[in-house]
């Protein structure tokens, strides 16, 4: 009986230890998903203009919430990030007067930040891979 109890205690300890180490692995993995990497890039490069909630600034910088750009063509998105945009998009009847500068980001960074934007702020759209960004950029003049 005593022996059995000990076994029980040991197995519980082992179990909790394994779940503990599993957690550690999970949090390590979290750091390197496209979403978490994308969030870091968003915070550094996009947040100043498009804001923490992706809602933009009335009349100056457009929102990134369910716009036809964000949910639409990856080609257009990669082009906007690579070349910048200064044409005056119209979203829900409002226009925005700031220019968007070209972003000096790697293919991987563009993929991550676009994946983040397309799946944050209430958006739901397919992820963007670095290979896709590379292929699109190769075709941009």
């Amino acid at each position: 009986m005593k022996y059995l109890l000990l076994l029980f205690a040991v197995s519980i300890a082992a179990l909790s230890f394994s779940s503990f180490s599993e957690k550690k692995v999970v949090s390590f993995q979290q750091k390197s998903t496209p979403m978490t990497r994308g969030k870091v890039i968003y915070t550094q490069y996009c947040l100043p203009c498009h804001q923490a909630d992706g809602g933009g600034v009335l009349h100056l910088n457009p929102p990134l919430i369910k716009t036809s750009y964000v949910l639409g063509s990856k080609v257009t998105l990669v082009e906007i990030l690579t070349k910048g945009l200064n044409k005056g998009v119209e979203i829900d009847g409002d226009s925005y007067t700031n220019p968007m500068p070209a972003q000096n980001l790697t293919d991987q960074q563009v993929a991550d930040v676009l994946t983040f934007v397309r799946n944050s702020f209430g958006n739901k759209a397919s992820a963007v891979s670095a290979a896709e960004v590379k292929a699109i950029r190769a075709k941009l003049k």
Binding site: L47, P48, C49, Q51, A52, D53, G55, G56, V57, L58, H59, L60, N61, P63, G84, N86, G88, G93, D94, S95, T97, N98, P99, M100, P101, A102, N104
Partner: protein, 417 residues
């Protein structure tokens, strides 16, 4: 009368009571004000209400930045004299920011022209569909496009023409892009132009560049006490594009938003310099070789007052009324639209401040006068703010009006002894 009927009446009157209570309540603006002041909402849902002008009769003209039902100017009247504008009529097929009343005319601007409308004896527009175009062809390249206007007492109109750039970089708002030498856009923008208020179809050649080196001015007013123009400049954004000298927090707090007295030839220093409110001096811009400490030695005037960075001063008004206590007389009210550019710090502004003045000089520091427009205690994203103060006007009884271009609310602030 049976019980059921009685109950129905009771229920109905309770409903009415509730309705009238909520109606009375909804006029209270819930702003934080100094002791003795009260704010009411006098109009709602007007759209993108920018600058405002009040007639001696107490009616109001509101310029809209986006057409509403195809119109860009709203005329508000309080025909039953209950303090609320219940009558609205609209005219003008252009959007814009500027609006001003002077000498029997209503002046209003689009983003590239200035129009005027003759008024009748009650200061009502006689021909809403036939404005006279007095100025045309002003630069509008989307950025800093609004044309704020004010008139002096000598027949001139002053028009802000904002710079279509943040800091005159080779590549606008691009990291480490340097400034264009001799910033050429100053020839046609980035300053205050003066035109004749009575001549039709003027353009650049007909006016003078009255003041230069102003990136973007939205709030401006004519100070009747010293008969001069005063302007509020929107300081540049994104010093963090030069991360060697500015981290995000430094860039969030620099440069100052600034107030200038403007005479012919005044130079605000943009894009070559900006005003650092911590070092109390003009600093050479990083685009032109600055390192956040080198003082700017070129030609530029000092502001007469500096405010925290990025708060976007959109309205300026010198108070000439008799309703407010003595300290407010001839002082300046400034409507700060509120910042978007202060992350990682909380956003600032979204309030109206007061600066005491005498004979054209500030006599004390600025203080927050009316707060609570945002409706939340902290704004981290600009959209958190429910309302954003924009235009200011003084009513014939000495009340102060504030417009909000986010929801189109008009506030009236009055003092009761």
């Amino acid at each position: 009368m049976n019980m059921k009927y009685n109950k129905l009446i009771l229920g109905f009157s309770l409903l009415l009571l509730g309705y009238s209570c909520s109606k009375a309540q909804s006029n209270d603006a819930h702003l934080t004000l100094p002791q003795g002041f009260k704010a009411t909402i006098v109009a709602n849902d007007l759209g993108r209400a920018r600058h405002i002008a009040v007639t001696p009769e107490g009616d109001m003209y509101v310029k809209l930045n986006r057409l509403k039902d195809g119109k860009g100017i709203v005329y508000l009247q309080d025909t039953n004299h209950d303090g609320i504008f219940e009558k609205q009529t609209s005219f003008g097929d252009y959007s814009g920011t500027g609006i001003y009343l002077k000498n029997g005319y209503l002046y209003a601007s689009s983003d590239n022209s200035v129009y005027r409308y003759k008024l009748n004896a009650q200061n009502q527009v006689i021909h809403p569909d036939q404005p006279e175009k007095i100025i045309e062809g002003l630069i509008n390249r989307r950025q800093h496009e609004s044309k704020s206007i004010v008139l002096d007492n000598a027949g001139y109109i002053y028009v802000n023409i904002g710079a279509y750039s943040n800091s005159c970089q080779e590549k606008d708002r691009q990291n480490e892009s340097m400034g264009i030498p001799g910033c050429p856009l100053l020839d046609s923008a980035g300053g205050i132009w003066r035109f004749n208020a009575d001549k039709l179809n003027q353009t650049y050649g007909d006016g003078i560049r009255y003041a230069t080196g102003f990136r973007n001015v939205v709030g401006l007013d004519w100070n009747q006490q010293d008969n001069s123009l005063y302007v509020m400049q929107h300081g540049r954004d994104q010093l963090t594009m030069f991360p060697k000298y500015y981290d995000n927090e430094k860039s969030a707090q620099l440069p100052a938003e600034t107030m200038y007295k403007v005479v012919e030839g005044t130079n605000g220093g943009w894009p070559y310099s900006y005003y650092d409110q911590f070092q109390h001096k003009k600093i050479l811009s990083p685009e032109y070789g600055g390192d956040s400490e080198k003082e700017y030695k070129g030609k530029a005037d000092d502001p007469i007052m500096a405010f925290p960075a990025h708060m976007a001063p959109n309205g300026l008004l010198f108070y000439t009324g008799n309703q407010f206590p003595e300290k407010y007389k001839n002082g300046a009210f400034i409507a700060f639209h509120g910042s978007w550019n202060r992350a990682p710090l909380p956003q600032e502004g979204y309030y109206v401040v007061f600066v005491p003045f005498k004979d054209g000089k500030p006599t004390g520091d600025w203080e927050v006068f009316a707060n609570g427009f945002a409706g939340v205690s902290q704004v981290s994203s600009s959209r958190d703010a429910e309302h954003r103060p924009c235009g200011l006007a003084q009513g014939p009884d000495g009340s102060l009006y504030v417009s909000d271009d986010s929801k189109g609310t008009i506030y009236k602030i009055s003092y009761q002894k």
